[in-house]
Amino acid sequence: MIVAQQKNIKDIAEMVADAQKVLLAGCAGCVTVCLAGGEKETEVLAAALRIMRKLQGNPLETVTYVATRQCDPEYIEAMDGLVKDVDAVISLACGVGVQYLAERFKDKWVVPALDTKFVGGAVKHGVWEERCGLCGDCVLHRTGGICPIIRCSKSILNGPCGGSQNGKCEISKDVDCAWQLIYDRMKALGKLDKLMEIQMPKDWSKARDGGPRRAIREDVIIG
């Protein structure tokens, strides 16, 4: 899933400083699961903004809504009625949701409440880690199911490098060396020979470097 975290509330308040009434739009997808933008966080943020503005002598009116997902047009249509009489929309979705709202509500000031961090998962309650670099050309079958693109600080394909010390990456003692993990796992699987194959330079055009991407499934497109 997409992992996001809430911005500093002062920064959020600043973005809607001119507004008298705002809609806070939560999302029941990834950001609910990573505890950043579900109904609870949406209500809490709304209350916090109201309190803040009241203390400043400039009361703010809030409306809240939680979409099933903000990354599908059908789910945000339902907000049409609410958006009409607000001055701004604060999206508690990932960057996708913010843009979908901005696209749909063309005359509204739409701002993000979250920083979209990475694609990853929970390692325990309250801790999430990055797992996928969205490179567009998966190599996990060659690396024992451990991604060198995103989990190696240098994204090298033929690791480890000289910065691997006692299983840790030189950038921090808290970061595992991905190539150590890959080596250990391949060894456990009895497939160390696979690591002897030299990986050719990756075709980064399939990644973000090739410009904005689009995925199409011709077979399911209607009309």
Partner: protein, 1000 residues
């Protein structure tokens, strides 16, 4: 001419053991008479400040049990009562009980305390160990049950002030002693212990020097409800001490005073007091514990000890010569002691705490003599071999410190075991004497306009003398939806309760608000009353205008009155939104699954089968017996193989036990009362409870040449070799036993508990076979707790040589020609000693089963950091898992000896029977529910619930109402607000705070 068995049990002693035994029995379908000689139940646990090793507040965890026990329909509590005589036979005893007069009618007294205010006589408070005073009319402690006062006639001057002050008319000076005859089927004795009288040891100065106090006195000083409200000061001059010393083994391990046994709990409580003392002061505090051996042998204890060292508690291995008072007027103390190497030190302290031992009370000893029970040489009850709880007289069981010093969890465990055994004895009479509360059918109030009744209590003058109650009532009458408001002297008294029911009827009230005291103690009472009036118990709200208002604002009546009004407004606003909550119930499959066919599993299985329940006993190996098959002799010299044989025969022959050998659990699902488990054999079992008793293993050492020399044995191997007359052992001239092999090490930081006693026993056995043999035990601390200390003394008397080593300086073991060279540093001489040993015995650790992890995931029950199963609460729920309906016993829980495992196995069976004896299990109502279409299946509730109630089912969370305890954690944490808690919905809480801030 056998008489019919009686479905009632007498429990003697109202400490934690008696309370637990009573609750278990009452919940299993037996009527209980709980006889307590003091004016209130609670025992010693009520006096403690914190409890080790979790540092839970003792009173906070005890008081819910007091309330539950006090309110139980099938427990009759007789305080100030003593058992005089027991006649009859197991299954049908007639017990004579003498009840001393209280001079206060317990039914009428509401515990308001006006009488004590008026009483002019002050005497030292027993509860506070003589520090501080109580009146001649008093309640032993604030949370006491019965919540009623008592007159101490010895000190009463009969001035009549209390009678004048009592608005309830509860005082009756004419009360006289009464004699009662009780008919019961079994008896559970839990009279507890007395603390050793330290003034017998002149050299410690107790009673002579004011700043030498006992550990129990120090508990009261630390306690927030104690004489100094928790301010840690010396009783002598009320000054905070800067240097405190604890002296261990005061009245324990002292054979001159015939107290040769170890009191088992003092090491831990001293560490706890030292840690807690540090928390009580902002100033630096030096804490020093003078000890001989540090006996932190229980589960989690070794870590607690290590943590104390990190927190700066100083431990001095020493012998104390004497304590003298410093002659500078400070009343400080000077301790003169010998260090381990024989050198003498002198140190000054502001306060000295004597860690006094436990001994049986003379009254309890006398009772046992009257009952003809066998006592041991120290006057404690002698337990029948491998029974864990049986006395020498059938039908009479014992639990707690009265059969040997022990801590709270072991006491609770034994209490559940004794209750289980009593229940088994009386199985045919189960349910014959218990009463069930019946309520009229519930009125359907859904869709009705709220009609709220407000009942405001004066609580004698507790509330009424501060808060102007009539004003509160007048205000309440004008609140929305309120159709009635009235005032009551005691809302909880019987006449008020009767009036309440009548008024609910008369005014067609459908929501009730009581403004009085704490919901913790009184909500269940009022809820029962409204149920009697045909209302759902969820249609009730309480405002605490006593504890949270009149008591804390007693000098500000105006403000307190306004606050009381606010509290009532809030409660009324919420009450208007309350909805009835349906009671969810489910049937119970009357069968048990016991996992593990060792002694613990078999014992649990037999107990449950004898109670009449079908038992499925699953053992992964092809035969029963577990690790006990390798044990030849018990610590008291018992014949283990024949005990085991007879146990296995009983299990095999029992018609209610189905054996599944060579089988493991494959899958399990369901919840308390209704589990379904599939075995590897493919068989599917339906059961209401599960007992996990999967045992543990002996560690295979990688140290001290184990596996490299045939002269090196583990304890179990040495026991086997001894029994078989192995020439390596019988021909040996010198034997060395090394302790803590694999225990108390960084990778296994726990103590394996039983190896010290086992090694001492093996040393004695070696000496018995060959008195000429030189036997050395190399140890870190000898942990022969309780009566096992006698073995240690015997071993030293018979010439076994004990040499202490430290983890930094472990013995060195080398192969030599025809022997093993062991080098250790002598702790007295400080020089290396070389021993040429023929055999070497290693006290290898007890390690958890490798399958524990898998079982933990399968049954969704936790393991601790060491890999043993973790119980629901280290103190008060030692055999329960947090998940309802699953219990644990034996080595799977942690290292213990055979006797202790048997007690725990019986306890698990006893606890399990509280579930199996029920016709239906009812949810307590105020449970959390998931609105499934809002659920993102994010797992937050699943991960956070302490009771494993939520599961993901069909891509959304589902909370099993019978498992939900209504704590509200999930409702608070759900990121999409998909979970609501009955009775605490957002809009209710918003209305509540809205009412408070309406005018702001």
């Amino acid at each position: 001419m056998s008489t019919a068995k009686v479905g009632a049990v007498l429990v003697v002693g109202g400490g934690i053991a008696g309370i637990q035994a009573s609750l278990d029995l009452a919940e299993s379908g037996y009527f209980v008479y709980l006889v307590e000689s003091s004016p209130a139940i609670g025992g010693t646990m009520a006096m403690l400040d914190k409890t080790f090793p979790t540092n839970d507040c003792s009173m906070c965890i005890l008081s819910p049990k007091l309330v539950e026990c006090g309110r139980h329909l099938n427990i009759k509590i007789l305080t100030m009562a003593d058992v005089v005589d027991v006649r009859g036979e197991p299954g049908n005893f007639t017990v004579t009980v003498r009840q001393r007069p209280r001079y206060v009618d317990v039914e009428k007294c509401k515990g308001c305390g006006e009488c004590a205010e008026a009483c002019p006589i002050e005497v030292p408070s027993e509860f506070n160990q003589g520090i501080g005073e109580r009146k001649a009319i008093y309640k032993p402690y604030a949370q006491a049950y019965p919540n009623a006062y008592v007159i101490d006639k010895e000190n009463c001057i009969e001035c009549g002030s209390c009678e004048e002050a009592c608005q309830a008319g509860a005082i009756d000076h004419s009360m006289a002693e009464e004699t009662l005859e009780l008919n019961v089927g079994a008896i559970v004795l839990c009279p507890g212990f007395e603390k050793f009288d330290a003034s017998q040891l002149f050299y410690y100065g107790y009673g002579r020097f004011p700043n030498v106090i006992t550990s129990l006195e120090f508990e009261r000083i630390l306690s927030a409800s104690g004489p100094f409200q928790g301010h840690m000061v010396r009783p002598y001059d009320k000054k905070e001490p800067r240097r405190i010393a604890w002296i261990q083994c005061v009245g324990s391990r002292n054979f001159r005073l015939d107290h040769g046994y170890c009191s088992s709990v003092c090491c831990m409580y001293a560490i706890k007091e030292a840690i807690v003392a540090k928390e009580h002061t902002k100033e630096p505090l030096e804490t020093t514990i003078f000890f001989m051996d540090m006996r932190t042998y229980g589960k989690g204890f070794e870590k607690y000890y290590e943590r104390a060292k990190e927190q700066g508690v100083r431990f001095v291995r020493s012998r104390i010569y004497e304590i003298t008072e410093v002659e500078d007027g400070s009343k400080n103390l000077r301790i003169r002691y010998a260090n381990e190497d024989g050198s003498i030190s002198v140190e000054e302290f502001d306060l000295v705490v004597l860690s006094v031992g436990l001994e049986p009370s003379p009254a309890a000893r006398e009772l046992c003599q009257r009952l003809g029970l066998e006592l041991n040489r120290y006057g404690f009850v002698e337990l029948g071999s491998f029974t864990g709880i049986a006395t020498s007289r059938p039908g009479i069981f014992v639990a707690g410190a009265f059969c040997g010093p022990k801590d709270i969890p072991e006491t609770v465990m034994q209490a559940s075991a004794a209750a289980g055994e009593a229940a088994t004895l009386l199985a045919e009479a189960r349910g014959t004497l218990v009463r069930e509360k019946e309520f009229p059918p519930e009125k359907d109030v859904r869709g009705e306009e709220p009609r709220i009744g407000v009942f405001v209590c004066h609580c004698g003058i507790n509330i009424g003398s501060v808060v102007r109650v009539p004003e509160v009532v007048e205000m309440a009458k004008n609140l929305p939806h309120v159709v009635y408001a009235g005032e009551y002297l005691y809302a909880c008294s019987q006449d008020s309760q009767a009036a309440m029911k009548q008024i609910i009827d008369e005014y067609k009230i459908n929501r009730v608000v009581v403004a009085s005291c704490s919901p913790r103690t009184h909500r269940p009472l009022f809820q029962e009353t409204i149920r009697e009036a045909g209302l759902n118990k969820a249609l009730f709200e309480m405002a605490n205008i006593r504890d949270q208002c009149s008591w804390v604002h007693m000098n500000e009546p105006d403000k307190a009155t306004e606050k009381a009004k606010d509290l009532v407004k809030m409660a009324v606003a919420k009450a208007a939104l309350l909805e009835p909550v349906p009671q969810i119930s489910a049937g119970v499959t009357k069968a048990a699954l016991v996992v593990g066919g060792g002694v613990s599993g078999m014992t649990s299985a037999l107990s449950l089968a004898d109670l009449g329940y079908q038992v499925h006993l699953v053992e992964k190996e092809g035969e029963l017996g577990g690790v006990a098959r390798r044990i030849r002799e018990g610590l008291k010299g018992e014949d283990v193989p024949s005990f085991l044989r007879s146990l296995i025969e009983k299990v095999k022959a029992h018609p209610k036990i189905e054996l599944h050998l060579g089988t493991e659990v494959k899958e399990t699902a369901g919840y308390v009362g209704n589990f379904v488990t599939t075995l590897t054999s493919g068989k599917e079992i339906q059961h209401g409870v599960t007992v996990i008793a999967t045992g543990a293993r002996e560690y295979k050492p990688s140290e001290y040449l184990y596996g490299e020399s045939d002269r090196v044995f583990t304890q179990l191997e040495l026991e086997e070799a001894l029994a078989q007359g192995d020439p390596r052992v019988s021909g040996a001239k010198t034997a060395v036993l090394i302790q803590c092999v694999g225990s108390r090490e960084p990778e296994r930081p726990y103590c394996s508990r039983i190896c010290c006693a086992k090694s001492v026993k093996l040393a004695l056995k070696l000496k018995e076979q060959n008195p000429q043999m030189k036997v050395f035990v190399l140890y870190r601390d000898i942990r022969t707790y309780g009566f096992l200390e006698d073995l240690y003394l015997e071993a030293r008397r018979k010439g076994v040589i004990f040499i202490r080593y430290t983890p930094e300086n472990k013995p060195v073991v080398e192969k030599a020609d025809g022997f093993i060279r062991v080098t250790a540093t002598d702790h007295v001489l400080g020089v290396p000693v070389i021993i040429e040993a023929d055999i070497l015995g290693l006290a290898a650790a007890i390690v958890p089963q490798e399958t524990n992890h898998q079982l933990s995931q399968l049954f969704k029950v936790p393991l601790n950091e060491d890999g043993f199963f973790l119980e629901a609460h280290m103190k008060l729920r030692p055999v329960d898992f947090a998940s309802e309906g699953i219990f644990l016993a034996g080595l799977a829980h942690g290292p213990k000896n055979l006797e202790e495992n048997i007690a725990q196995a019986k306890a698990a069976a006893g606890r399990a029977s509280t579930v199996l004896s029920k016709k239906v299990l009812e949810s307590h109502g105020m449970v959390a529910v998931v609105q499934q279409d809002k659920c993102a299946a994010c797992l937050t509730c699943v991960r956070l619930c302490a009771y494993n109630a939520p599961r993901i089912r069909n891509y959304a969370a589902y909370i099993e109402p019978l498992l939900c305890q209504g704590c509200g954690t999930c409702a608070g944490e759900c990121p999409n607000k998909a979970i609501t808690l009955h009775g605490y919905k957002d809009h209710m809480q918003m209305a509540l705070s809205g009412a408070l801030f309406k005018e702001v």
